[in-house]
Every structure is written in structure tokens, then in C-alpha cells.
């Protein structure tokens, strides 16, 4: 189980290849992954960039708490969350959530749970930069 706040751009599939090496071979039959990526459009406006703020300390605590909750609720072998902060450009990965389990039901359920908990309550805030200036994103798109 690992969570990380990342200040620089990251390549999610490279992170997965690296992280997966620590998980016992032959144990996991199912890996469910979600990657959130910055779009160049939101609410009908062109977005040129984004700044992601977080609450250092509380954010890490919260991501660890939901990872532990998922590990209690489902039969998981491992989980990984990486979340960007700082200045992003369109197409930059924002978040990576991955879960490894023996069977797919646990992996699917747990990865979605982690994303919904993260989106609804992890202390991150997005500020978008448009041609006309900047604005704080007020709410997320519903996930379920």
C-alpha cells in the first residue's frame, strides 16, 4: 500500500510497471487501474493550464485512510495512489489509482471506491487558467 503526492509530471504506466515489481508474482489475477488526465476543456471553456493545491499532511492522511478502508472492505494484495499537485498542462496525468487482487470483483469495486472517496473528500483544489483569467473549479462531475 502506497500513496504519494507528486510535485512533478509523472507517467502512470511507467509507475505501474515499477511499483508492480514489489508485488509477489503469481498472486494477483486482477489489476484495476484508473488514470485521471487534465482535459483542455471544462464547462465549455478552453483551459490552458491548471494549478492543483492540497492540504499537506491532511491529504496524505486521507489517502492512507481510504487505502486502509479499501483493504479492510475487499481482499486486496496491494494498492497505489499517486496524485499531482502544482502546475499542470492539458494532457498531464492528475491521478493514478491502482489495486491488485486475486479476483476481478475486488479490484473493480476497490478502485472505484478509492476514486469516489478521493474525488468527494480528499483535500485537493483545482484552479483553471483560461484565456480570460483564472477560476477555481467549484465541483466535480458525478461519478456514479
Amino acid at each position: 500500500m502506497h500513496i504519494e503526492i507528486r510535485g512533478e509530471a509523472f507517467e502512470p504506466y511507467q509507475e505501474l510497471q515499477n511499483y508492480q515489481q514489489r508485488i509477489a508474482e503469481g498472486q494477483y489475477g486482477a489489476t484495476a487501474v484508473f488514470v485521471g488526465t487534465m482535459r483542455d476543456m471544462n464547462e465549455g471553456d478552453d483551459v490552458q493550464g491548471m494549478s492543483l493545491e492540497h492540504y499537506p499532511g491532511m491529504t496524505e492522511n486521507y489517502l492512507l485512510a481510504i487505502s486502509r478502508q479499501a483493504a479492510q472492505q475487499w481482499s486486496l494484495l496491494d494498492s497505489l495512489i499517486i496524485h499531482r499537485v502544482g502546475d499542470l498542462l492539458p494532457n498531464d496525468p492528475i491521478v493514478l489509482v491502482a489495486v491488485w487482487s486475486a479476483h476481478r470483483k475486488d479490484a473493480f469495486d476497490a478502485s472505484r471506491y478509492l476514486m469516489e472517496e478521493l474525488k468527494s473528500s480528499a483535500p485537493f483544489w483545482k484552479k483553471e487558467f483560461l484565456a480570460e483569467g483564472s477560476r477555481w473549479v467549484e465541483h466535480n462531475t458525478p461519478g456514479q
Binding site: 492543483l52 491532511m58 474525488k119 477555481w136 467549484e138
Partner: protein
Amino acid sequence: MTLKVRFFASLRERLRLSDCSVPYEQGMTVEQVWNTVTSQTPLPGNLLCAVNMEYVSLLQSVSDGDEVAFFPPVTGG
């Protein structure tokens, strides 16, 4: 006898305040901390609050030395 108070994101910009300290008073609630720091600024409807980095309600009482944080709805992921 102080509390550390922090503000984030749009709230930090609107109040032009990132963090500050306020004197702790016995039995103080999170809402009273807000009123003290912001000079009675009306509570935003969708305000979130944390004490020592755990979500709490406005009615939660605080203890000396606590870190109290106020912020708008979160939008990560």
C-alpha cells in the same frame, strides 16, 4: 493558549488569509473560531472544516493547540 487556523484555495484568496493564530478559549467551537478569525464573516454555505486534519462539523469543540482548517468543496482527482 492558541489555535492555528488555516484557509485553502478560493477561501484563502477571498479572505486574503492563508494562516494565523487565535487565542484559545475554553469550550470554543469550530464555528466560534471562524467568527473570531474572520470578524463574523457569514459562513459560506458549502464550507468544509477540519481539526487536526480530520473532517469535523462546525459544532465540534476544539482544544488548545489544535490546528483548525477551513476550505471550499474539494475538486481533486
